[in-house]
Symmetry: C2
Subunit: 192 residues, 2 copies
Amino acid sequence: MFDQFRNKFPLTDEKWNEYISYFNYIEVPAKTVLIEEGEISKKLFIIEKGCIRVWFNNNGKDLTSQFFFENQSVASIESFMKQFPSPVVVETIEPSILWWISKNHVDKILEEIKEIPELRDRLINMLFQRTFDYMKHFFSFIKDSPTQRYLDLIKEKPQIVQRVPQHYIASYLGVSTVHLSRIKSKLIHKKE
Amino acid sequence: MFDQFRNKFPLTDEKWNEYISYFNYIEVPAKTVLIEEGEISKKLFIIEKGCIRVWFNNNGKDLTSQFFFENQSVASIESFMKQFPSPVVVETIEPSILWWISKNHVDKILEEIKEIPELRDRLINMLFQRTFDYMKHFFSFIKDSPTQRYLDLIKEKPQIVQRVPQHYIASYLGVSTVHLSRIKSKLIHKKE
DNA sequence: GGTAGACGATAACATTTGTTATCAAATAAA
DNA sequence: TTTATTTGATAACAAATGTTATCGTCTACC
């Protein structure tokens, strides 16, 4: 699992092995809640196999903010970084194989990494990149119609459309399940 | 202008004076375009007095993404950091007094700052914080009604409601000017 | 002072989207 | 296999929001 990333990190073998020894292997069924709403998140997950959804409860309505797949890391990021109650639920969609690492160990790694200029700069770039990604996602909400957002999703994140049940996609796009059905139906009839 | 920030930066007086010498003073009237759409942004601005709007053009429609006021720094941030064409326009709303600094100088300062652990960590925290702010803004779009977003705006950013013309606020909230008028009107009648 | 432009309210109508309910198909569990 | 659960489509109606047009007020500028 971790070997594929080995060459991306200019670390000694000792450090590398120390870091990967912090990770714990688990297998979980579909619909397993990994982090509950209100919980202070102490774990960050890496997905070896499977699919995870991050969502929050808005007056009983299920609102999905992100999906994650193989080789991505997942956490209730604000809760994990700042140690306050998680506003979101982190939950598997498919049966999944995961590796998790504790907050303490991540902090330790981060502190050490910051002293290595190359990795420090990469962390900073990653944070910039994340901001840009959020901006992009955010802009699409104000400027595009749900139909356009659905078309973009098919184009840019086909995995989501293929692997995720449609009502989760609706909650991700910010429309009702009924309306997403309508959108799909209209798209099909236009094509013909 | 810069003295008020002096004690926040653990720098020698020489460094501090060098850094502030990079800034250039300008005064501009209302509706001055500081960065055009498509331009590669070379400047970052700090507002001494006035108010700035960042917006982008979506099929002829004016969509506002952010407002900035006194003591805030403004740039077409993706364009400035990555040097690609700016997707947004940066424009004054009121007559403004500004200080700008060039990309080269910012890069120089950032490189030097990264070597000072306290400032480096503050930069990293700032980037995390920015991500969280974007997430928050983004979430409010999917979970709240325009009426709720307007009420939040009054509560959390009263400056915007007070100083910014209403049609810009509508474009910031993602609704038509007519609809924002309706929202205001309904709120007034409910209160009575 | 007068005039043009910017700004905001409102009405009438069109379009989009949500809600509730029902049904059918697929899937998982027993 | 049988049954329950999940998933998705569709119809009918309600609510939210956009569009276009008109009008009044205010402000900047000549």
